[in-house]
Amino acid sequence: MLQLSRDQLILAYTRMRTIRVFEERVHAEFGGGAIPGFVHLYAGEEASAVGVCLNLEMKDKIASTHRGHGHCIAKGCDVKAMMKEIYGRRDGLCGGKGGSMHIADLSKGMMGANGIVGGGPPLVCGAALAAKTLKTGAVAVAFVGDGGSNQGTTLESYNLARVWNLPAIFVVEDNGYAETTASAWSVGGSQVKRAEAFGMPGVTVEGEDFFAVSDAAEEAIRRARDGNGPSLIHLTLPRYFGHFEGDAMTYRGEGEIDSLRRDRDCLKGFRTRVTETGLLEEGQLDGIDGEVAALIDEAVEEARRAPPPRRDDLLTDVYVSY
């Protein structure tokens, strides 16, 4: 916590707040029928994406999950272009061809949300291999859900990252549910012991605590950058919304989400911590809240007005040349 500058704290809060408001707004817009397709929201998990990505450089790569909006914002993707993408508009981040589940911006080192659970870790091994081979000094982070942690791709990637000694970090975002299925039931053993079994350090951190996440990430990223190989960070996190929008969440406990929002909210925790220690003031944070609200309003307004893709767009971008 002490390593973070005032500017970094402001950036951290701004990004977490942006993710929260973005997701709450997408939830509302989806409910109103404005957004097509499948949407998976990240609200409640903001401290993970931001706590990790604040410790990354532009050259570093991340691969995301089904729940990718937060990772995009945390890595610095353009929020208005993201909203347009989720609306399927032509000047969206991916030209309206990817949508929520494939939102990406390689120029920012964001290798994509992924429609395939466990799709990202092998790609991150490749990004880390490229960094190592080209000696760029970059690292690569795979965000994986508790669901994705049970895929063979993920476990194979732990092994490959270890035996190739790659500058890779695996962040297991354990929000308690793979779709409807509780991680307490679906995960055999423990995430940290899995890491240890593959010969890499692993740590469990309360993922709603931005500062704890940031500290763990800083250590793992430094280890990777110094050539000391991969690490795993297991984050326990609250998920405020359903698996996807439209999920009635009948599998969740009575009052569960209310208590998560009350007791485990990363934004509240951050605000309390920085104001009580005098690092930032309430007024500053309120000001950021206002700026973020205005930005998301503008993003939605622009997305609503943005033109759809053109007929010709159907056939472009399949190949570089064919």
Partner: protein, 337 residues
């Protein structure tokens, strides 16, 4: 120019491209061999010796041996390609696509489209295919129709050493994901191959014989067999054009149509399982676009719809050969309304 085997031609293409471009790397199971073992280094050079000698020249940093984890290392090749390398990954036998296909067809093939044209994924996946080594059901399939089906992938099926070298160099320099099929029974075939690097463009078929009576389209190892049949039948007055498409995606449909419009008779020879293979695809295409020119029903020469059997007698029965091709060509040549 010197006589080279198909194996040597592939090896030479890899070595020359690695010398030319430091971002080209090679990875796969036992591509050098002996990693971490007490005995010889570069012990295998791939299971059939195709990558032998690359590791001593380029080092372990550019010739990577992998655990037997196709999902992880094929995916790593894809991810590395999206981040500035030009990896050539070896999927030892194409039959193993079942343990890594997601990284090929959902990731590599779709990045460019899903990301609005902003991704470039210049990965090559070399893989062995085909029957004939008594390798039974899980080491003998063709499966290139499955890859051809996927938008975003390019699929290359070289038919000879010369073709293999030029097409592999093209594959490595290409900016899209390319699946490169090497038939096991072709590795020891030899022919004159230029020593210097050269490129054979994708989507341009090679016409190996020209004749006005019948069009034979054949793929991979079947090209040579089709040529031999054409030579034999020419002596009897049946003149066949033999077309090697070289790549099934992109497919040089213009060359096929031009020939079919001239001959009016088409035989497609495809070693892949008969349902939804390249033979059915090309036959459908010719029917849709050159129906008026056809003088006989199109004939397709493919194996039966069974797994590849083990017993030599059964495998010989399974594989399409010169006899089946000849019978099909005679049937369309003799066909009368």
């Amino acid at each position: 120019m010197s006589k080279k085997s198909f194996r040597a031609a592939v090896n030479e293409a890899l070595a020359q491209e690695m010398r030319r471009d430091p971002t080209v790397i090679v990875m796969g199971e036992d591509n050098a061999g002996g990693m971490g073992a007490p005995g010889a280094d570069d012990a295998w050079g791939g299971v059939l010796g195709v990558t032998k000698g690359l590791m001593p020249e380029f080092g372990r940093e550019r010739v990577l041996d992998t655990p037997i984890s196709e999902s992880a290392f094929i995916g790593a090749a894809v991810g590395a390609a999206a981040c500035g390398l030009r990896p050539v990954a070896e999927l030892m036998f194409v039959d193993f696509l079942g343990v890594c296909f997601d990284q090929i067809f959902n990731q590599a093939a779709k990045f460019r489209y899903m990301f609005g044209g902003k991704a470039t994924t210049p990965v090559v996946i070399r893989t062995m295919y085909g029957a004939g080594l008594r390798a039974a059901s899980q080491h003998s399939q063709c499966l290139y129709p499955i890859f051809t089906h996927i938008p975003g992938l390019k699929v290359v099926i070289p038919s000879s050493p010369y073709e293999a070298k030029g097409l592999l160099i093209e594959a490595i320099r290409d900016d899209d994901p390319v699946i490169f099929f090497e038939h096991k029974l072709l590795y020891d075939e030899e022919e004159e191959v230029p020593d210097e690097p050269y490129r054979i463009p994708f989507g341009e078929a090679n016409v190996t014989r020209e004749g006005g009576d019948v069009t034979i389209v054949a793929l991979g190892r079947m090209v040579k067999l089709a040529g031999e049949v054409a030579d034999k039948l020419l002596k009897e007055g049946i003149a066949a054009t033999v077309i090697d498409p070289r790549t099934t995606s992109p497919l040089d449909t213009a060359s096929i149509l031009d020939s079919v419009r001239e001959t009016g008779r088409l035989v497609v020879v495809d070693e892949a399982s008969p349902r939804c293979n390249l033979a059915t695809d090309i036959a459908a295409f010719a029917t849709e676009n050159a129906f008026g020119a056809l003088k006989a029903p199109i004939r397709m020469v493919s194996p039966p719809h069974t797994p590849v059997p083990f017993a030599p007698e059964l495998e010989d029965l399974y594989m399409p050969g010169a006899k089946e091709i000849e019978a099909a060509v005679r049937a369309v040549a003799d066909y009368a309304h």
